[in-house]
Amino acid sequence: MAAGSPPLPSGKVTIPFYRDTRIIAIIVQIVFAIAVAALLWYLYSNMMNGLRQANLLPTFAFLSVPSGFPIAESVIPYDPSMTYGRAFVVGILNTVRVAGIGIILATILGLILGIARLSDNWLLRNVALVYVEIVRNVPLLLQLIFWFSLTRLFPRIQESIDVGGLLFLHNRGVTLAWPQAANDFDVWMVWVYGGIVVGIVYYVVRRIQFARRDRPGVALPQALLIAFGIALIGFFTTYFAYGSWPVSLSIPELQRFNFVGGITVTNSFAALLVGLVIYTAVFIGEIVRSGILAVSKGQREAARALGLTPGQTMRLVILPQALRVIIPPLTSQYLNLTKNSSLAVAVAYPDLFYVANTINNQTGQAVPVILMLMASYLSVSLLTSLFMNWYNRRIQLVER
């Protein structure tokens, strides 16, 4: 494509005429590589000199030392007697948690927003437009700080707003009743795993059948239905066999300081999630909108001519086709959301960046911490885009 146009890197190597492009190309590359390597070596040796003087040579030994600092929330068990390495993992998982939930919610809200922007209802269309224009022109960090400050306006935990005894709103977050494993949970879990296995077997068998007959077909909904059905049967069977439900509802109860039971979504997490979802949904909404607009008008007219309702047209004709256009830019929005979650530090949510910052502060090991931090974000980005690429290929396949 650009074979005939090797642009020179800069004014450094300028050759007014050329006879053998290949030799010149090789020379240019060698010079470039040496220059880059020399620069990197220069920076590296300066850094090592400085660190040696400060008695701070980089080492990863601190990873196995107890961290001693607490982390407000964690998906896996963690306390200050555990290592810095563990603390770092807690940070990664917290980032994954907020990014994962955020991506799902932002997609849903974005989809609604994109469709609303194209609605034939004038009011809805313009409300959506106002929302988009407000949100995307204000920095995300400001929005996060706004949402976080907003949580202060809720009452203190002792005077929580009680919604039916199941949901409590207070300035430390939201506490809600949550299912909890009861005595016979293990019995039911056997049913659940059984259901999953049967579902997978069904799915694989159907797929092989489709492949043999060389015909397209849908197996996933039935497989899910089977797995779900078996789990449901097991749920009731366990009840009748043991006389109690395998899962009970844990009702939050206000103790002296905090709620016990149920689950509490902290205000930090809530503010971060709401901020990220509202912000990212705007961009997803615009992608959905242009994706829908990219589907030719004839498709819509044909669908309507066949007697499909507007809802059916959207669901069965427009969206599946729009998806093809939507996926690549959607991937970069998902990555943006993940990267933006690093602003958690402003709302005291212990994400990866926050924990890494604290580790650096306690150990003084800036270089290893930064390397680990960047490697982690790159891996998360890589995994997300791998998954989305896989999904994109699948969509294209179904499309034929």
């Binding site: 090592m48 040696r52 982390i71 407000a72 530090v345 005291a348 150990t363 003084g364």
Partner: protein
């Protein structure tokens, strides 16, 4: 896209490996505190962005009466004198009594007075200080990277920081201990009452670590709410998002004045830790470290002799040999640490002795009215003790 990402990862991985490799080779040399660290730093030209000296440095560093300072060539003292100002790291959040900015934009407080004392010793002018406000998280990095000359930001001296962070601590200027503030109506009287409580604490501090230790030792659980910013931590406690707020007791006393309703809160009796707060400098310039150390000692010694900013001129006429040596009238003791011989006089005249500094910022005539406690001279049952000036 995917290929590129893999390439990137591969590149990064090799960087990580390189860093590991580098560490493995150099590991043995890090263990002992080798004399190599004291080798003079490369004298280099200031980068273009660094502040150009606005005033003529030579004129300001010429002492009034004493012998000229003899800073080591290429040392930090020489660079500070050439620059014309001392860069002093202080707290970015207002901590009334220690470091805060008044309505007229003037920075004042206990920590600030020690910045001024160092500037007075170096320049005979306590105002030649450039304050760099720093958060708890940035402070040590700022010192390590040479962004500041000295850090006087209520920073606790610990073995870990002294060793691992590559810093050196001058004598403690304020003996503090970690305390806990709670609401009066919460019914909390001791730490044991706080099982299951939510506690606000600032990250990047020793208090964060002590809190965890103290609760673990007592077999109590707690939920931390950790902010990188002191203001945010206090605001969260004020809004009732935490049941307790922990930091150094001096910090609590000072924060109390910033709460929306100070009368609703109290500070528990318990002291959770030792918090010796003092100036810190970057490791590797022993002369500068000595200078800061003896500047602090000079304030103690002045109080011990009863020399104040008011009567210092009378003491200059004294014929007691000890006092004459201390004030630099006899001998040339200060030369060895790169300070002018009359540095103690400069400090006392411009900033005062320790008692004056304490009373001005924290004493009975301030809203804090903190008793001296451990921060009294050893002769009064405190811990302040200066080695002899001879």
């Amino acid at each position: 896209m995917r290929k590129q990402m893999i390439l990137v990862l591969a590149g990064l991985l090799s960087l990580v490996l390189a860093a590991c490799g580098g560490q493995a080779q150099q590991a043995p040399t890090t263990a002992p505190a080798q004399p190599a660290t004291t080798a003079p730093e490369q004298p280099t030209a200031a980068p273009p962005a660094s502040p150009a000296p606005t005033a003529a440095p030579a004129a300001t560093s010429a002492p009034a009466g004493g012998t000229p300072a003899q800073p080591a060539a290429g040392g930090l003292i020489e660079r500070i004198l050439a620059r014309g100002t001392l860069i002093c790291g202080v707290n970015n959040n207002p901590l009334p009594g220690f470091s805060s900015v008044d309505a007229a934009g003037v920075r004042a407080g206990f920590d600030v007075d020690f910045c001024r004392a160092i500037a007075a010793a170096l320049f005979d002018d306590p105002n030649k200080v450039e304050y760099r406000p720093l958060s708890a998280q940035e402070r040590f990095t700022a010192l390590q990277t040479g962004e500041i000359d000295v850090l006087i930001r209520n920073s606790t001296w610990t073995l870990g920081r002294d060793g691992n962070l590559g810093l050196d601590w001058a004598p403690t200027t304020f003996y503090d201990g970690q305390g806990m503030m709670v609401r009066k109506d919460s019914g909390i009287n001791t730490l044991e009452d706080m099982n299951g409580a939510t506690i606000c604490v600032q990250t990047g501090t020793t208090t964060e670590l002590n809190l965890a230790d103290q609760f673990r030792a007592r077999g109590l659980t707690f939920t931390p709410v950790v902010f990188p910013d002191g203001d945010a931590t206090r605001a969260a406690y004020d809004a009732g998002q935490c049941d307790g707020f922990t930091t150094d007791k001096s910090g609590l006393v000072s924060s109390l004045t910033l709460l929306s309703n100070p009368a609703d809160h109290k500070i528990l009796e318990v002291t959770m830790s030792k918090e010796p707060l003092g100036p810190a400098v970057k490791q590797g310039d022993p002369q500068w470290f000595d200078a800061v150390r003896w500047i602090v000692f000079a304030t103690f010694q002045a109080e011990e002799y009863g020399i104040t900013s008011k009567n210092v001129d009378e003491f200059l006429k004294s014929d007691v040999p000890e006092i004459r040596r201390f004030l630099g009238i006899e001998g040339d003791l200060a030369k060895g640490i790169g300070l002018p011989n009359d540095f103690a006089v400069r400090i006392i005249r411009h900033v005062g002795n320790y008692a004056e500094i304490y009373d001005r910022n924290l004493g009975p005539n301030t809203p804090f009215n903190l008793p001296r406690g451990l921060n009294a001279l050893y002769t009064n049952g405190g811990l302040l003790y200066s080695p002899p000036f001879r």
